[in-house]
């Protein structure tokens, strides 16, 4: 166990920045001061995070034991113990590094983007507070402190979505995000309660505090025997229940079905917020938690199954909606939901490393795309509708080129970061050994179905991203066609995004109606510099995790650093025969050949120790060949997607998309009609008018009248109050005395 007190600096530097900006910045109202404080504190966090991760005591990212920093004992009652302690192991080191680094870039970008906003200091105070919460979430060394961060990011997300408080849209979106997250938080806290009753601990790590040994709840859970693969396990109160409850939290925070509805609306916040919170960092907290608890999930096959199915369904569902959106940020929002689905798919099939790899590369390219869209919006004077853009490559060359790299990365073109991570997920889905995913559905192994859906999603991703790029940067200039678009909107073609842009009028400082001599302009360097850095990362960032199958083509040997760093975090679990039987039983049939292959490689994985030779043994020639084939297929499909996108939108960028997709499958309407309206009605009619006004007020008024009546009677008899009080006390005294003397008489008698 390594102690390093610098760890607390990572979280407290942003907190200090937030306080300083709130207290001093609010008085000064100086953009330079606020910006410098915000960026400076994040820079401190970033430097310290990298220092501890790579250098201090050999680097937390490579050490066997996590680096811990026990600040104080928060609660200690009986055997329940919650420390205010931080810990950095390999997983949180990766998170801490990319969050602080990407966060820093986005902060710098925001100083340019928010220039001239009257709430500049407030914005940066919130943003710093968010960084504090997020870093607390990932560096916490126990579930309770993680939950503090979890709630903290939820709060900051609420504050920042509703940042433009004068806009109705922003207020409603903030409320929606808050409520959806609350439902998820219920799952997390219940899951933690249940885990504590099962293991007697909420700590992540084995550690010694004040001479007391604290056991890791995760290690205990991992050492337990696996739950059976049955639906009943969900409500049995075992590890599966814990895993499912925690996953409910993850669906809230990471926008998965059914709680994803808040994320697209969250785009009402300023664009840097969308990039930082709703694409790169906070929304991946759910993935973090699932991977952190992989020991629990591996013992809960039913939960794994649910995670995989939900992840895959979200991925394809969000991609279909993304095809038909006209607001540049909404396209990216649905794309984020879809990519998060990929990450959960990876978790569900047991490829936790691939999930985290995708989290990281996604943070790079999605932050890039969002910031690029922010730059476009800035250059277009806060116009977000892609139908009013076009040919921006002429006016915004840096934005254009950097966004192109983001586009290549998300489509999955080789070399660019997204290719390696997405391909890894698809390959792992194809070749999964997780027992749950080997069950069959409609006569097909589940993992095959998931894989096919994953591939379709990949094609759709390429299509909608190409559509977005084309509408924005190519074709003819449409920013003077405003009148036409209005006419288009007014002719009964209902489209709320056009209305959105009208609502922008509330931020008077920013919005100017586009003049006829309007020319989009390139953004200042504070905005383009982060774009360039993120573009480089999106291009090269995937190289840390090149799978052996790829690197061996160039004879480079095993260069997959990323996987080896994360390997110790993932609990190793031998596959139990019993589980398998359950799985077979559950879905009646299984593929014997497949199963054999699974067992075969499983034994190999078990053998694979830390030594190099064993690692090489892991990559059998057939597996490598399969992986290479599949990678080739992905590239082909990505190319196909880009081609489809180009072919369809090249000449007709305003092509009408299916109304069902444009209206997001009417999910919001369905939720409103079947969930929200009934609840609202029940609250209004039942709770408020019935219970509150009827029962509570009835009691209050009733008792009040009763007391008044008694009082008036008492006054009419002129009874001295002190005497009646004394009588009351005497009565009580007699009861107590009687009670005691009852025992006394027993003694005497």
């Amino acid at each position: 166990m390594t102690e390093n007190n610098l760890l607390s600096l990572i979280i407290f530097a942003p907190l200090f920045g937030a306080a300083l900006n709130w207290v001093v910045g609010g008085k000064l109202k100086n953009e330079l001061f606020s910006g410098a404080v915000a960026c400076g504190t994040i820079a401190v966090s970033c430097i310290v995070a990298f220092y501890i991760a790579f250098f201090a005591d050999g680097g937390a990212m490579f050490a066997d034991k996590p680096t811990l920093d026990h600040l104080w004992t928060w609660i200690q009652v009986g055997n329940f113990r919650a420390d205010f302690g931080l810990g950095m192991d390999h997983l949180s080191a990766i998170y801490a590094c990319f969050i602080t680094f990407v966060g820093l870039l986005i902060h710098i970008f925001a100083t340019g983007y928010m220039h001239g906003d009257s709430g500049f200091y407030r914005f940066f105070a919130y943003l710093n507070l968010f960084m504090f919460s997020m870093l607390t979430l990932i560096l916490a060394d126990n579930f309770l402190l993680m939950f503090v961060g979890w709630e903290g990011v939820g709060l900051c997300s609420y504050l920042l979505i509703g940042y433009y408080i004068k806009k109705d849209e922003a207020r409603v979106a903030a409320k929606k995000a808050f409520v959806a997250n609350r439902i998820g938080d219920w799952g997390v806290i219940m899951g933690v309660f249940l885990l504590f009753t099962l293991t007697g601990s909420i700590s992540f790590y084995d550690k010694v505090v004040d001479g007391e040994k604290v056991n890791s709840a995760l290690n205990i859970a991992s050492a337990m025997s696996a739950d059976p693969f049955t639906w009943g396990a969900i409500v049995a109160g075992g590890l599966t229940s814990v895993a499912v409850l925690l996953f409910i939290g993850a669906t809230g925070k990471s926008a998965q079905i059914p709680l994803f509805v808040w994320l697209p609306d969250a785009m009402a916040g300023p664009t840097p917020v969308s990039a930082l919170i709703h694409a790169a960092t906070m929304v991946t907290a759910g993935v973090y938690m699932v991977v952190r608890c992989n020991g629990i999930y591996q013992n809960a096959p039913t939960a794994m199954f649910i995670v995989a199915i939900i992840g895959c369904a979200t991925a394809i569902f969000a991609a279909t909606i993304g095809l038909a959106q006209n607001d540049i940020k909404k396209v990216l929002a649905y794309s984020t939901v879809s990519q998060l689905g990929y990450m959960f798919l990876a978790c569900g099939v047991g490829a936790f490393v691939a999930a985290i790899f995708h989290v990281m590369t996604h943070a790079f390219f999605k932050a890039l795309l969002f910031l690029g869209s922010g730059s476009v919006i800035h250059g277009m004077h806060h116009e977000q509708d892609m139908r009013k853009m076009g040919n921006l490559k002429k006016y915004m060359p840096i934005t254009f080129i950097t966004m192109m790299t983001g586009w290549l990365a998300i489509c999955g073109i080789p070399i660019w970061a997204g290719f390696f991570s997405k391909d890894e997920i698809l390959y792992k889905t194809f070749a999964t050994h997780a027992s749950a995913s080997q069950a069959t559905l409609f006569g097909q192994p589940v993992n095959m179905i998931l894989w096919v859906f994953g591939l379709i999603t990949a094609v759709m991703t390429a299509v909608y991203m190409t559509r977005m790029m084309w509408m924005t940067f190519f074709g003819n200039e449409r920013f003077h066609d405003e009148a036409d678009v209005h006419a288009y909107a007014e002719h009964g073609h209902d489209d709320d995004h056009v209305h959105d842009s009208h609502d922008d009028d509330d931020e008077e400082e920013h919005h100017h109606a586009l003049q006829h001599d309007f020319k989009p302009h390139e953004s200042p360097w504070t905005m383009t510099a982060p774009l360039v850095i993120l573009a480089v990362l999106s291009t090269l960032g995937g190289l840390v995790g090149i799978p052996y199958a790829m690197s061996s083509i160039f004879g480079a040997g095993d260069v997959n650093k990323f996987e080896h760093i994360l390997e110790p975090v993932i609990a190793k679990k031998g596959e139990h025969e019993a589980e398998k039987k359950e799985a077979k039983h559950f879905f009646q049939a299984a593929q014997p050949a497949k199963e054999k292959a699974g067992e075969h490689s499983e034994t190999k994985t078990e053998k694979a120790g830390e030594s190099k030779t064993a690692e090489h043994a892991e990559h059998s020639p057939e597996e490598i060949w399969t992986e290479q084939k599949l990678a080739g297929l992905s590239v082909l499909l990505a190319g196909l997607g880009i081609f489809i996108g180009w072919f369809m939108f090249k000449d007709n960028p305003l092509r009408k998309m299916p109304k069902l997709l444009e209206n997001k499958w009417y999910i919001d309407e369905i939720y409103n009609k079947f969930i929200i309206d009934p609840i609202t009605n029940f609250s209004r009619k039942g709770l408020w008018q019935g219970f509150d006004l009827g029962v509570i007020d009835g009691i209050v008024h009733g008792v009040g009248q009763f007391v008044t009546a008694i009082g008036s009677i008492a006054r009419s008899f002129q009874v001295g109050f002190v005497r009646s009080y004394a009588a009351f006390i005497l009565l009580g005294a007699l009861i107590v005395l009687g009670y005691f003397i009852y025992y006394g008489l027993k003694l005497v008698g």
């Binding site: 509570i696 006390i729 005395l737 003694l747």
Partner: protein, 513 residues
């Protein structure tokens, strides 16, 4: 500290061992004398009092960190244990805060300030002896010193009828309760032939007249029950609290209550333990534990339900103080059933910690109420708080914070306090105690209604009349800063304070066992 010289005179008269009490008493006398010669002063007596209280705190720490052997000082009439140190700290804190809060009021009402300060200090001395006395005679002396001072303080606003009424009611009913207490002490003395708590605990298994123990225990329970305002001995509280000047109410709800708990704990938890094989003792123990558990439940229910019905903030806080005494009693009962002496001390510390969190929150809340109430405390209805939220943001946000701490929201002091007092009771696993904790949790949920109501009133109700934010004087600002820091500090760093509470000189540990 002139220990050696004093010990030469009489080995048992050990002034050092009661140095904190002596310092406060001397400060009180100084204030009184100074006031005779300079009755018009406004600051000096307050300053003397504060200095006295701070010196007493320092002396307390010095005593506890030093290696003094007090085992036989005053023939064992003075205790040296964590109960004394934890409760004395709470009391000194309450008194110091009360002096700071009162500055607004003493100026507004033109009360005899020196008189008020000396009474407050004498009350503090009484309270301290209630925590440090290890003999029932000392406890009673402390209690009377405290009570007589508070009777006068409650009626300090001489021209106000309500204040007079409050003082008189408190005096009559207080004397009534003291009679019970004294008679109980006499009966216990009759049973065990001792007034020393340690000796009583040792002899209780072989008492001369075991039946007297039960009658005596009942009398003591009634007397102490009155002092800490448990149902059904709470009836005096709302009237007295409402009628007394606001700072005095703040003091009475926090200080004397803590003192009552200190003596109550000492006599019952330390004095009446379970002795294997002695039927009378076990009857006594069983009946006081179950009686207190029932009283705790009644106290919480009555306190909370009655608080819902109030339209006056001071009265609401009075009933809320009854409810909080109920929560503290939960920890008390937990201490009573503790199996080991460590667990027992832990539960006692939990009660002290709870009373500290309550004191911090309560003093903060009363500081705001004092400032907002105008002459004769006219502005203390809920209506008077309508819509002040954004007109006086500092005051309303701090008051909201105190309400949340009363409620026991995580991150605030109240949350940790509640966890700590509920813990020992629930761990005992006895059905009655489990029911008690369930009642406590339900009552906490009920209390959300009236605590949040104040916040709602401040921030969401329209104000129809003109209102300007009062200026916050520096003394009150100090109180607010200390209490806000206290609410968060105790909520986050509870272990630091608890470790101070746990400190107990080794010599006394041996003596207690």
């Amino acid at each position: 500290m002139n220990t050696i010289l004093l010990q030469v005179v009489n080995p048992n008269v050990n002034v050092t061992s009661i140095l904190p009490e002596v310092i406060v008493a001397v400060a009180g006398t100084l204030v009184m004398i100074y006031d005779c010669f300079a009755p018009k002063q406004k600051i000096v007596t307050g300053a003397i009092s504060l200095v006295g209280l701070i010196l007493a705190t320092i002396a307390l720490f010095a005593l506890w960190s030093g290696s003094y052997d007090f085992a036989n000082a005053w023939n064992g009439m003075v205790a040296f244990d964590n109960l004394r140190v934890s409760f004395t700290l709470v009391m000194l804190f309450v008194s110091a805060m009360t002096i700071l809060i009162s500055t607004v009021w003493t100026e507004r009402e033109d009360v005899p300030i020196g008189e008020y300060h000396s009474l407050l200090l004498f009350a503090t001395v009484g309270m301290m002896f209630m925590a440090s006395g290890n003999d029932m005679v000392i406890l009673f002396l402390g209690l009377e010193t405290l009570s007589l001072s508070t009777y006068v303080m409650a009626g300090l606003r001489k021209s106000d009828l309500k204040s007079n009424e409050s003082a008189l009611k408190y005096f009559i009913l207080g004397s009534f309760a003291s009679a019970f207490l004294l008679y109980g002490m006499a009966l216990i003395y009759g049973a065990t032939a001792s007034t020393n708590i340690t000796e009583i605990a040792a002899k209780i298994g072989t008492a001369n007249f075991p039946a007297l123990l039960l009658a005596g225990g009942a009398m003591l329970l009634i007397g102490f029950g009155f002092k800490i305002a448990t149902v059904p001995f709470h009836v005096w509280t709302p009237d007295v609290y409402e009628g007394a000047p606001t700072p005095v109410t703040a003091f009475m709800a926090a200080g004397p209550k803590a003192a009552g708990f200190a003596s109550f704990l000492r006599v019952f938890v330390l004095g009446f333990p379970v002795v294997a094989g002695a039927t009378a003792t076990n009857y006594l123990h069983g009946s006081w534990v179950s009686a207190l558990a029932l009283m705790a439940m009644l106290t919480m229910i009555v306190g909370n339900v009655a608080a819902i019905l109030q339209n006056n903030v001071k009265r609401m806080l009075a009933y809320s103080s009854i409810a909080h005494a109920g929560y503290a009693l939960v920890g008390f009962v937990g201490a009573g059933v503790a199996k080991t002496s460590e667990a027992r001390d832990g539960a006692i510390n939990a009660v002290a910690f709870y009373l500290l969190t309550y004191a911090v929150t309560n003093l903060g809340a009363f500081a705001v109420v004092t400032l907002l109430g105008e002459k004769n405390d006219r502005r203390t209805e809920f209506e008077d708080y309508n819509g002040i939220g954004f007109k006086a943001p500092v005051l309303s946000f701090t008051l909201s914070l105190f309400m949340l701490s009363f409620l026991g929201l995580p991150l605030t002091a109240g949350f940790i306090g509640k966890i700590l007092v509920f813990g020992p009771a629930i761990q005992s696993g006895e059905p009655l105690l489990t029911v008690m904790v369930v009642v406590a949790v339900i009552c906490t949920a009920i209390s959300a209604y009236y605590y949040l109501r104040l916040i709602v009133v401040m921030f969401f109700k329209e104000r129809l009349t003109e209102w300007t934010e009062p200026k916050i004087p520096i003394t009150l600002a100090t109180v607010l800063i200390i209490t806000v820091i206290g609410v968060f500090g105790l909520g986050l760093f509870s272990d630091r304070v608890l470790s101070i509470f746990k400190t107990s000189p080794t010599a006394t540990k041996a003596q207690l066992k």
